[in-house]
Symmetry: none
Subunit: 250 residues, 2 copies
């Protein structure tokens, strides 16, 4: 049993409306041996309905970390997976829970693995999905695809446990990489820096960035940046910022 | 999609106490494309709590067949699977949901396939389990194995659907992408442009570029850039060049 893997899985519930779903998610997590629960700006929490639905998983619930935004929830992670019910305008690598977890367990990932679950009615925003390297889609009946939030957490947590129990682990091409994967928080800061720099040089209009920023995010999400690469990209952006500042000062 | 298989799966809830669990099970079934629900002597049914939890799966709920005992629920089936949370005194072939469903889908089975779910607190009796050819065990944290009934139905129904879907669904980078892959010549010109720009802003010394350029090449080589991405990157480089040129002209 690969408990170390289960310990690294972080379930992130974004803007959850119904406290009962938070409790149901905590119960599903504990059943499957997961413990890291992050709540991004929940509507009502703590709440007695959450505690009731959590049943005896109150330790998971009490250990939940409440944060203000997704950025704060993905700090310390080197893989961020976003659950997605819909097709997007710009296609993103989309995998079912089994394929996602097979990738997550790869020895390439040494830090925490965040799995984001969106709002009950509207899911994750495009901006939140753009912070993810992988989009996870739970297969459903196309005529009735509105999976309950706690049920979705249950399915994903179950796949985590099935994998931790000893499914064959596929060693990907990237094991034995020379650099650790970058922290998701650092990658997000790099993206924000890039957006600022691109606005400064008038490559994008911050009020109307169109698709360019999304496409750049998608591109980097496919790469899975390592620490050195993020550092090189930040260095490039700093140099560009200086060139522009010097120009403006003249 | 093997819908014929899904149509043959019969979910049998035995002596369910809480009507909410019946509704939750109906919803989980419909989400995954199952429709045959059998209720063996439910405590309270029909019940508004069942209808509420079923959400829009009321067709599954209304189609539910209420019977007096397990014997009546397994008529017309050629495989009966019993879910079991505990080890039994007499060991029985015990399989996880994936292995059970792999067996169920075998062409050996042409009729309906019953999957029995026991009472919330005590599960199936030894007599009921003895009517089953297979015992299904959902892997759980041994310290907290009390899976909610609707959650157990969710996991099993999900495995049914994964199996009915056949191959793992994946929108890969190559198929169904929205843009054609970039021409290798264009990618090479983009790299040369980048090297020039990075020299101009003094990010690298052209005489001694060290590892930065190699690392940037390796970074981009890990994905296959599409035409739009190369065009965006070239556009960025042009903008940076202009910012620097303006500076020098001053």
């Amino acid at each position: 049993m690969n408990q170390a893997f289960l310990d690294r899985v972080r379930i992130v519930l974004v803007n959850t409306t119904h406290p009962g779903n938070i409790g149901g998610a905590a119960r599903a997590m504990k059943n499957m041996g997961l413990s890291q629960l992050y709540l991004v700006d929940p509507y009502r929490y703590p709440h007695e309905e959450a505690t009731r639905r959590a049943s005896n998983a109150d330790d998971v619930l009490e250990g939940a970390v409440v944060v203000k935004n997704v950025q704060a929830a993905i700090e310390g992670c080197d893989l961020v997976i976003g659950t997605s019910a819909r097709e997007r305008r710009i296609p993103w690598p989309l995998k079912d829970p089994r394929a996602c977890m097979a990738e997550a367990v790869s020895p390439r990932h040494q830090r925490n693995i965040a799995i984001l679950f969106g709002r009950e009615h509207s899911g994750l925003t495009n901006e939140e999905l753009a912070m993810c390297q992988l989009h996870l889609h739970i297969p459903t009946n196309p005529d009735y695809s509105s999976l309950n939030l706690a049920a979705a957490v249950q399915v994903v947590a179950y796949e985590c446990r099935m994998l931790a129990q000893g499914e064959t682990v596929e060693v990907s091409e990237a094991s034995g990489w020379d650099m650790p994967l970058a922290d998701a928080g650092d990658v997000e800061r790099m993206h924000q820096h890039m957006a600022n720099t691109l606005a400064t040089i008038n490559f994008i209009d911050p009020a109307n960035p169109k698709q360019a920023l999304t496409r750049l995010r998608r591109m980097f999400s496919r790469i899975r940046l390592d620490e050195m690469e993020v550092s090189i990209l930040r260095g490039m952006l700093n140099r560009i910022d200086k060139a522009v500042a010097r120009n403006k000062a003249d």
